[in-house]
């Protein structure tokens, strides 16, 4: 036979558990998953013919990414006056 005191204790325990459930912590930060680009594909700069470019001093082999990168890095040094003047 369950006494009234035990019932009250069990009820209090249930209420305490229900109250604790409200303290459950959920992840507040939504982890962004990279959306998939829906637009048109773009071409790569290295795939262009350097001969078709106007007024450029950069030379690279069409389709060769590393040669285009080397041309861009060389051109970048035009912004370095320590390399230009001294």
């Amino acid at each position: 036979m369950i006494s009234a005191r035990q019932r009250i204790a069990a009820l209090a325990a249930l209420i305490a558990l229900a109250g604790l459930a409200g303290c459950g912590e959920r992840e507040q930060v939504v982890v962004y998953q990279q959306g998939k680009y829906q637009g048109k594909p773009d071409t790569k700069p290295a795939d262009n013919d350097p001969a078709a470019s106007l007024y450029t001093t950069s030379k690279w082999t069409k389709g060769d990414k590393s040669s285009w990168e080397a041309a861009i890095k060389a051109r970048n040094q035009n912004q370095n006056e320590y390399a230009r003047v001294n």
């Binding site: 962004y32 990279q34 959306g35 998939k36 680009y37 829906q38 637009g39 048109k40 594909p41 773009d42 071409t43 790569k44 700069p45 795939d47 262009n48 350097p50 078709a52 470019s53 106007l54 450029t56 001093t57 950069s58 030379k59 690279w60 990414k65 285009w68 990168e69 041309a71 861009i72 890095k73 051109r75 970048n76 040094q77 035009n78 912004q79 370095n80 006056e81 320590y82």
Partner: protein, 208 residues
């Protein structure tokens, strides 16, 4: 190759707005749209500092994250571009961008937002390179011509550096070392402040 980046040297920028003009001219940017602008702190006060600001082509770009139609993409060179045919002009990217880079042409009589326009690092967009369509929508594609952004190449004091992040970081580092100041503008001290007691020893004991 590293990612394409801009650095603006606040010690050199003289607020001439040459970069803004170069951008406008190169890309035929419409009235009311400023892909690049010069921001001056303490304007008129001796010691004022200016920097040129545009799209920073973030490595983890918030505009890409919030775009509801996923019209943004990042090229292999690290340039953040978008497809104007997809853009709905909602303006989310403008709210997300910490630099105010996305611009919206006032296209209609009632001030309707047009499609978003921003700095392309002079890399055009997803149209045929150097075509009329690409130029009319996105402006010049200088990268495909083996050139660098017009703003950086036109900068008279070479305050604005643009190009391969590793290369321009080396140029800036060398410059800061040669002149003996200005290095404190960027780096750990700026981001996190200086320690209260630099001589303090690190606590000893096992790592927890």
């Amino acid at each position: 190759m590293a990612r394409m980046k801009f650095i603006c040297d606040a010690e050199r920028c003289i607020e001439c707005n040459g970069c803004v003009t170069a951008c406008k001219q190169e890309n035929e940017v419409p009235w009311g749209v400023n892909r690049r602008r010069v921001v001056t702190l303490n304007d008129g006060v001796p010691g004022e500092k200016s920097i040129s600001v545009a799209c920073m082509h973030c490595s983890d770009a918030p505009c890409m994250a919030v775009c509801p139609v996923d019209c943004f993409y990042r090229t292999e060179e690290g340039v953040v571009l978008h497809d104007k045919d997809m853009c709905i002009g909602c303006g989310y990217c403008f709210y997300a961008c910490p630099f105010g880079a996305p611009q919206f042409p006032q296209a209609g009589a009632f001030g309707m937002r047009g499609k978003m326009d921003k700095c392309t690092f002079c890399a055009g967009g997803p149209e045929k390179d150097n075509s009329r369509e690409e130029f009319s929508k996105y402006g010049s594609n200088r990268l495909s011509q083996g050139k660098l952004p017009a703003c950086a190449e036109m900068c008279s004091t070479k305050a604005l550096l643009g190009g391969d992040g590793d290369v321009i970081a080396d140029i800036f580092r060398n410059r800061a070392l040669k002149r003996g100041k200005g290095a404190e503008v960027w780096g750990w001290g700026t981001a996190y402040g200086k320690p209260d007691n630099p001589q303090q020893q690190a606590p000893k004991g096992p790592k927890s």
